[in-house]
Assembly symmetry: C2
Homo-oligomer: 355 residues x 2
């Protein structure tokens, strides 16, 4: 049973020894799904989606939290915490509960009720903090030191190590190969750093000859890294006011930003941004045409592909992977306005209706 | 990639030939998680949960829909449908969209907005039907014949075949063994029938020497099968009015009911019922103590174990599996009333607070 754990399977690549399987919630090992319908439309025979919603708390964050919690417990911490606007809050609260640690979740003011509850059910200390989110991020580390709390924030190095596993899985799922392109939503930068490092590991060890081209995707209303990338700058400028419905990737001052800019430049990657409308349309395409209901933020990947398709040097046989980071269920409250209509009929009316 | 598909892996046991991987959404292969904390409290060293929320639409229904859709496409149907109150609606709509079939979802009057939307996003024909739900179930088959729609309802034989795979996975995850007890929520009966058949297959082929004892769990407010079981009757009596918050298992007239009663009697199984309060407490225990946030209905399994624990002949080394059928995220709207509290602090106040 334990050998099935991705953390065990790939432990040679991870900075953790003596992995405790009882701290796992069964993260990882998610499907790489071929998108046949969308692929045909884009003339891509090998378009894939990595379905991260099939993690324990329905987002990729679990992969990172799974490594952080191993470290926190190994270091003897009794308290665990994070600063988050959504997915990471639920993930951290879940793994904290699993490990029996006292857990602190610091939320941004205005965090949605859905996010609050998805974390709150695990019974952490929930604290909504008024003030600058970027400052809170750094403040949490000194609070952690003072109060003996291991803060596993978005760019915690052990969290990032967990994201490497996604790269190893994609490699195996493609029959020991690397895709040509990997598209991933870009917020703090931790996820993209982890994915790039994972493929770098594979190259270093001779499993692949070149690493994929990475495309990090931001929301136009909050795109400090896409702006810096376009201008060829190696240091990003923080955004004053984020305006996007893609809250999970709305980070005006991404802590891993400059590392990302350097890594993307070194590897010939791309950073781009898409509009809220483009995301919504891409989310709907994935749902209606492929049966894959992902979080709005995850759909930035398809939106970016549609936008960049003709500018990319892509043969129809090239493999392209969209990393769909979270579940559409978390978007449901925000879809209320979409107003799905259900026809109402009596059983008698139904029997007489031609369908 | 395709070989990883559970339907391929276990195809010798399934009535489908020429499985089309493009119809799959990556169902199955869910974790079997050891519940260490709850296990210790119950003096059970090997208490496990099968985490069915890690399926594509976050419930066990996907395993069944995955087989039904193979059959529907193989038979040449262009239309697919179901009658459901929740999870099955979303699952059917997702697989229908994936296969490019026109999909019909008949919902019971009063279906929650969350359920409506979780299915609606895939763009099926949604029809809310006023009138008797039991009648609608049977009516759908004649509607299907008339309109060339393959209705994959709760006891569709191919759907049930899909649930057998869960038994095979548990067997493998336990290192080629069967648990002593398997607890599963009980509504229409399809899921439990599939699980029992799966273990029967394993016994027939000599992989295990005896099949587990099954415990089917209903909600006290809608427990036609538990009532019949307690009275030793082989035919259940339909319930006039269901009164429970566990909507997903609130079926007053379960179509597979009499088959279940016979199978449970043949195998020495048990059918029991738990109250809404017991479910809520069990859901909270799983969430807070194990980090596993399951649907309320899934928590009936733990509630039943707590209730029956001392009446069961259980050694501390016996293996017990709770089948957690769906994700807690689907319960979030109904948890609104639970009123999670978040402390509100400014960044300055936070810095000065002793945590």
């Amino acid at each position: 049973l334990d050998e099935r754990l991705p953390l065990k399977k790939f432990s040679d690549f991870l900075p953790v020894v003596g992995i405790k399987p009882e701290l796992s919630l069964g993260e990882g090992d998610t499907p790489l799904l071929r998108l046949g319908c969308l692929g045909r439309k884009q003339r891509l025979s090998y378009l894939f989606a990595k379905i991260e919603s099939q993690n324990p708390t329905h987002s990729f964050k679990d992969r990172g939290t799974a490594v952080s919690i191993q470290k926190a417990v190994a270091l003897g911490f009794k308290r665990f915490g994070t600063v988050s606007t959504g997915n990471m809050a639920a993930s951290t609260a879940a793994y904290g509960a699993r490990a029996g640690l006292e857990t602190y979740v610091f939320l941004k003011e205005g965090t949605s009720r859905m996010s609050l509850m998805a974390a709150g059910v695990f019974n952490p200390h929930l604290v909504t903090v008024k003030g600058d989110y970027g400052c809170l991020f750094y403040e949490s580390f000194s609070l952690g030191k003072k109060n003996n709390i291991y803060f596993s924030n978005s760019i915690d190095p052990f969290r990032i190590e967990g994201y490497k596993v996604t790269a190893y899985e994609i490699f195996l799922e493609l029959g020991n190969g690397a895709p040509k392109y990997v598209l991933v939503p870009l917020s703090s930068g931790g996820h993209l750093i982890g994915l790039m490092r994972g493929f770098e590991d594979l190259k270093k060890d001779g499993y692949i000859s070149s690493i994929p081209t990475f495309i990090g995707v931001q929301a136009e209303g909050c795109a400090p890294l896409a702006r810096a990338y376009e201008r060829g700058e190696s240091v990003y400028t923080r955004i004053d006011k984020a305006e996007t419905i893609a809250h999970s990737i709305s980070n005006p001052d991404p802590p891993g930003g400059n590392v990302i800019l350097r890594m993307i430049r070194d590897h010939g990657g791309i950073i781009t941004a898409v509009s809220d409308q483009e995301m919504l349309e891409a989310q709907s395409m994935l749902t209606r045409e492929e049966g894959v209901f992902c979080q709005l933020e995850s759909a930035t990947t398809l939106a970016a592909l549609l936008k960049l398709r003709h500018g990319l040097s892509l043969k129809s046989t090239d493999r392209v992977v969209l990393v769909l980071t979270g579940s559409g269920l978390k978007s449901v409250p925000s879809l209320e306005s979409a107003g799905f209509k259900s026809r109402e009929l009596s059983l008698e009316e139904l029997s007489e209706t031609r369908l």
